[in-house]
């Protein structure tokens, strides 16, 4: 799937293809890279193997840690300017919790504000709503799954793109 992200304010385009839960291919500027998730250490730390070499990657919210650098990472497509509040606009989990209900399936057309998932966290129910009108391209969890905080729950693609 074609992705457009901004890292430290600079736009990058790349294609991300999923082979299975832990293997992916990333294509950028005509080069294909083999990505393997070796170990998900915790909510914020993942050990990945990129083209044969291990790297420890860290992420929390919009911040990624690569080596000594903390890099601001923003999805250019799904995020409008200023839309930052977790769980409201970016369709990620506001905090660690449990998925109670999945209200949509992949391929569904949804309108802005429509409920996508219901999760329980801190003994309260939170409905994760669509940030904009679009098509559900990926639902990452099923009912009963436990999720970490700040994890993307649903991918939504804008209509007409």
């Amino acid at each position: 799937m074609l992705k457009e992200w901004k890292f430290n304010g600079v736009e990058y385009k790349f294609d991300w293809a999923r082979k299975d839960d832990n293997e992916f291919t990333l294509e950028s500027e005509g080069t294909s890279h083999k990505i393997q998730v070796v170990k998900r250490v915790n909510d914020h730390v993942v050990l990945v193997n990129v083209n044969g070499k291990n790297h420890l990657l860290m992420k929390s919210g919009d911040l990624i840690s690569i080596g000594p650098k903390t890099i601001e990472a923003l999805d250019s497509r799904s995020r409008q300017k200023g839309a930052k509040s977790a769980g409201e606009e970016d369709m990620s989990s506001p905090m660690p919790g449990k998925i109670l209900k999945v209200l949509v399936s992949e391929g569904d057309e949804v309108s802005a504000g429509q409920g996508l998932l219901v999760m329980e966290a801190m003994k309260m129910e939170h409905t994760i709503k669509a940030a904009f009108e679009g098509v559900v391209t990926k639902v990452y969890f099923k009912e009963g799954d436990l999720v970490g905080g700040g994890v993307d729950l649903v991918d939504l693609e804008k209509k007409g793109e």
């Binding site: 890292f7 600079v10 860290m58 650098k69 969890f141």
Partner: protein, 496 residues
């Protein structure tokens, strides 16, 4: 001699924890303080006893002398460790404790008072023959006399408004011919800004370094130095990189500076831990700046190179113990560097940042020391100092210590808020830093070089990967790891 059984730590955050660790090692109970706002911070639960000071301004909590003294009596503590900042250099606190029969782990009140006043301390130093920055501070403001004084001091000189501040009425004069004009305009500016055109003249040091010496004295007249620290790298007059030994001193000069610091301690009839700060000029001249009568933030680099626990020595001295080692036994071994991690944005004028720390990090190196008052999940607010942590490394030499620090910084992202971590690594990478050309104007001089760089190809690629792989389930192979670590969850196929 009296052995302490219980000590109250009149401080918070990383320094309170650091002090408590040594107390714990020595089998002394610690009484620690916290406020309503700090319930989740590690120092709130680190000690043997914890006192909630409630909420309110600092004057009602950490700085409330009467209240702290009463708590000392209530908890029947033998002594108080003040840490740094807060009440650590306040004579009224020291006096109140003495009256209550509680020992302050710190210097005698006389030394604290003398060194707390810049004018008094300089007068004492002058009497003792300690070098001070050459200057003229007299009342006679006749321009011919001022010019003669400037000539005596030697150019370049700095003209400063006596009533001054903020750079107003300040002029750097490179040569004698320019002195007259500069004096006139400085006086005019001083008159306009402060209503007083009185000026003072000092030698201007073009490339100064900040060198300080750790001293420790017992109550039996023994005074020691624990060598120097160089803390020239500063931003907004605050140190951010500190190291020992200084890359700028040869052994004779090092010994001269350190011996001067010991002489000062003797002159003061000092007791406990102290730091004598000097300004070092390029030609090897050095001048007394001030003496801090407490433990310094950057004390860990000294501990790393000498192998002494300075808090332990403070406690022993306060108990009345005689330090039985010799100066020759205090050896500076290898090289130590400390960096201060701040919640701030160096690319936006070092503006403090706030947020929730999602992940502090974990070292993947040998012997890295992280002194911090935060843990995962803590909220960083504007209520307290924006320092998140001190990261300290030791290695056999400076080059390998720098390399180790660069790697150590990768391991502690303090994810969740903007920090100066990347900025610190840019300093460590700078060729002038590596050459040891560290002057107090470093951050300003190399401002352009220290700006945020574009991402390398590899960093961009890894960013792309990171933007995608955190989607989906947590825990390897699609499983959520929620169970606490322990033999039952980590042993795998082994059977007990």
């Amino acid at each position: 001699m009296k052995s302490f059984k219980k000590v109250l730590i009149a401080n918070r955050g990383e320094i309170a924890i650091r002090v408590a660790k040594t107390l714990r090692e020595r089998g002394i109970e610690s009484v620690m303080l916290f406020t309503d706002e700090e319930k989740e911070l590690p120092h709130a639960t680190f000690g043997d006893y914890a006192i909630n000071l409630g909420s309110g301004p600092l004057s009602e909590t950490y700085l409330n002398i009467d209240r702290l003294v009463k708590l000392c009596q209530e908890y029947q503590v033998d002594a108080v460790h003040p840490g740094y900042g807060f009440l650590s250099e306040r004579a009224p606190f020291a006096n109140a404790l003495e009256k209550a029969g509680v020992k302050l782990i710190g210097p005698p009140v006389t030394a604290m008072e003398a060194m707390g006043d810049k004018k008094t301390s300089k007068e004492i130093m002058e009497k003792a023959g300690i070098p001070l920055i050459p200057g003229y501070h007299g009342d006679n403001q006749e321009s011919g006399l001022l010019k003669e004084e400037a000539k005596k001091i030697g150019f370049p000189v700095l003209i400063k408004a006596s009533a001054g501040g903020g750079g107003k009425g300040m002029r750097i004069v490179e040569k004698l011919e320019d002195f007259g004009d500069a004096l006139e305009s400085a006086k005019r500016e001083a008159q306009n800004a402060f209503g007083d055109d009185k000026v003072l003249i000092e030698k201007f040091i073009t490339d100064p370094r900040h060198i300080e010496v750790q001293v420790m004295s017992d109550s039996h007249g023994n005074h020691f130095h624990f060598w120097e620290r160089e803390c020239s790298i500063q931003r907004r007059y605050q140190k951010i990189v500190e190291e020992s030994p200084s890359p700028s001193l040869d052994q004779p000069l090092r010994e001269k500076i350190c011996d001067t610091a010991v002489k000062i301690a003797k002159t003061m009839d000092y007791e406990g831990a102290g730091t004598v700060e000097f300004i070092l000029d390029k030609d090897g001249s050095f001048y007394f700046l001030e003496m801090n009568t407490r433990l310094q933030v950057e004390h860990p680099v000294t501990e790393m190179v000498t192998g002494f626990d300075l808090v332990d020595l403070q406690v022993r001295v306060a108990q009345g113990e005689k330090l039985s080692f010799k100066q020759e036994e205090i050896i500076q071994k290898g090289h130590a560097i400390e960096v201060r991690l701040y919640a701030e944005n160096p690319d936006k004028d070092f503006m403090p940042s706030v947020g929730k720390i999602a992940y502090v990090g974990e070292s993947r190196l040998i012997g890295v020391r992280l002194d911090t008052g935060y843990q995962d999940g803590n909220e960083v607010t504007v209520s307290f100092d924006p320092m998140l942590a001190k990261l300290i490394v030791w290695s056999s030499d400076r080059v390998s210590a720098i390399s180790k620090m660069e790697k150590a910084l990768c391991d502690y992202p303090f994810l969740g808020l903007t920090t100066n971590r990347d900025y610190l690594s840019r300093i460590l990478k700078h060729p002038r830093f590596r050459e040891g050309l560290t002057y107090t104007h470093f951050v300003k001089t190399y401002e352009e070089d220290l700006k945020r760089e574009e991402l390398s190809q590899e960093e961009a690629l890894l960013s792309m990967v990171a933007s995608q792989v955190f989607k989906g389930k947590v825990g390897g192979q699609g499983e959520v790891r929620t169970a606490p670590k322990g033999p039952w969850t980590t042993l795998g196929p082994w059977r007990l």
